[in-house]
Symmetry: C2
Subunit: 200 residues, 2 copies
């Protein structure tokens, strides 16, 4: 029963905070949405801010798990990028509010941005630049490109797809750009774009 | 003098609405930020909602002007994409709040999303898919790719860079990925990725 209320508060917070941010949601709205007495927010989490921070941790921790798994594998840089992209698609599938929290925190950072979200962004960026650098060193990728620009370009392709999905559904012909299919196509364009010419 | 107050209200609105959205800003905050009597919002715009809508129009209209200019030019699909990307960079340079309004409206759409923003998104998407299709037809681009996925991938590369700029500045080594340089590099990766193989 206790766990039930805790889960309901998390769910209510995911829905409300993802749309309006930490400052835009009151304790009263949270307890109404969860169908729980507002005192239970303090009881379970210690307050609105701590509920928000628990939700952020829940949203971002799968990215940490993904990075742990792809960093360790024995694979070529090309394969690592494909595995990472597949993993990102899975995280978005399991965490439908993830992009909203990420974008909301980028537009109006809360005090949790630095301690909580920035470390994940740093790790993703480190993984991408290291893998691209590795690809250049072993001759898989072109030498004449900027590693930072390539990392941002790939992150942009993947992230923006999930950001824009609620609206792209309105105008992209049905079925052509479903999640996994888009990611396969986008990564294929990226990899062809960075591939060392003689490799083709 | 009158024009002055109007401009101040627009500026105040750009700053506050871009960070907190239409619902998150009160008339009182707007008039305080602008240093103007709150009655002047009604006088100049008819109310908070109309001020917001005037700001959205101002933010998005340069995209319409850009599309008018790149759609008409006599150029190859590759050149059109480069010109479009350069234009997008210029729009972001002139409109520092543009991405925040776009992302804010995607995360929590106001009632102005459909009548006002969607038409621009449709036009951008139409321009990109038409240009990519043209490139496939004339043999510049690969036949074996999904036009919708390629359009979303390019839009993602470009948009995400501007979305993430406030945070990427914190971890991307200084100077390597400045606005114009990033866009040149990202478009180069995209164009190499979609290029017909024999073309290389």
């Amino acid at each position: 029963m206790e766990k039930d209320t805790r889960d309901k508060l998390i769910e209510a917070g995911e829905k409300l905070f993802s749309a309006r941010g930490l400052a835009g949601v009151s304790i009263r709205e949270l307890s109404q949405e969860a169908g729980a007495n507002s005192a239970l927010i303090s009881y379970h989490f210690g307050g609105k801010e701590s509920l928000y921070s628990a939700i952020l941790e829940k949203q971002f921790s799968p990215i940490g798990i993904l990075l742990d798994s792809v960093s360790g594998i024995k694979a070529s840089p090309t394969e690592k990028i494909i595995k990472y992209a597949q993993g990102v698609t899975m995280v978005h599938g399991k965490m439908p509010f993830f992009t909203k929290f990420l974008m909301g925190e980028i537009i109006s950072p809360s005090r949790f941005f630095e301690p909580l979200i920035q470390k994940y962004i740093h790790r993703v960026y480190g993984f991408l630049t290291n893998t691209i650098r590795e690809g250049i060193d072993c001759g898989e990728f072109r030498k004449d490109m900027d590693v930072n620009a390539a990392a941002l370009a790939l992150a942009g392709m993947l992230n923006f797809y999930f950001i824009s999905r609620p609206i792209s559904r309105r105008f992209v012909p049905d079925g052509t750009v479903q999640g996994e299919n888009f990611v396969v196509q986008a990564v294929e364009i990226f990899l062809s774009g960075v591939k060392e010419c003689g490799d083709k």
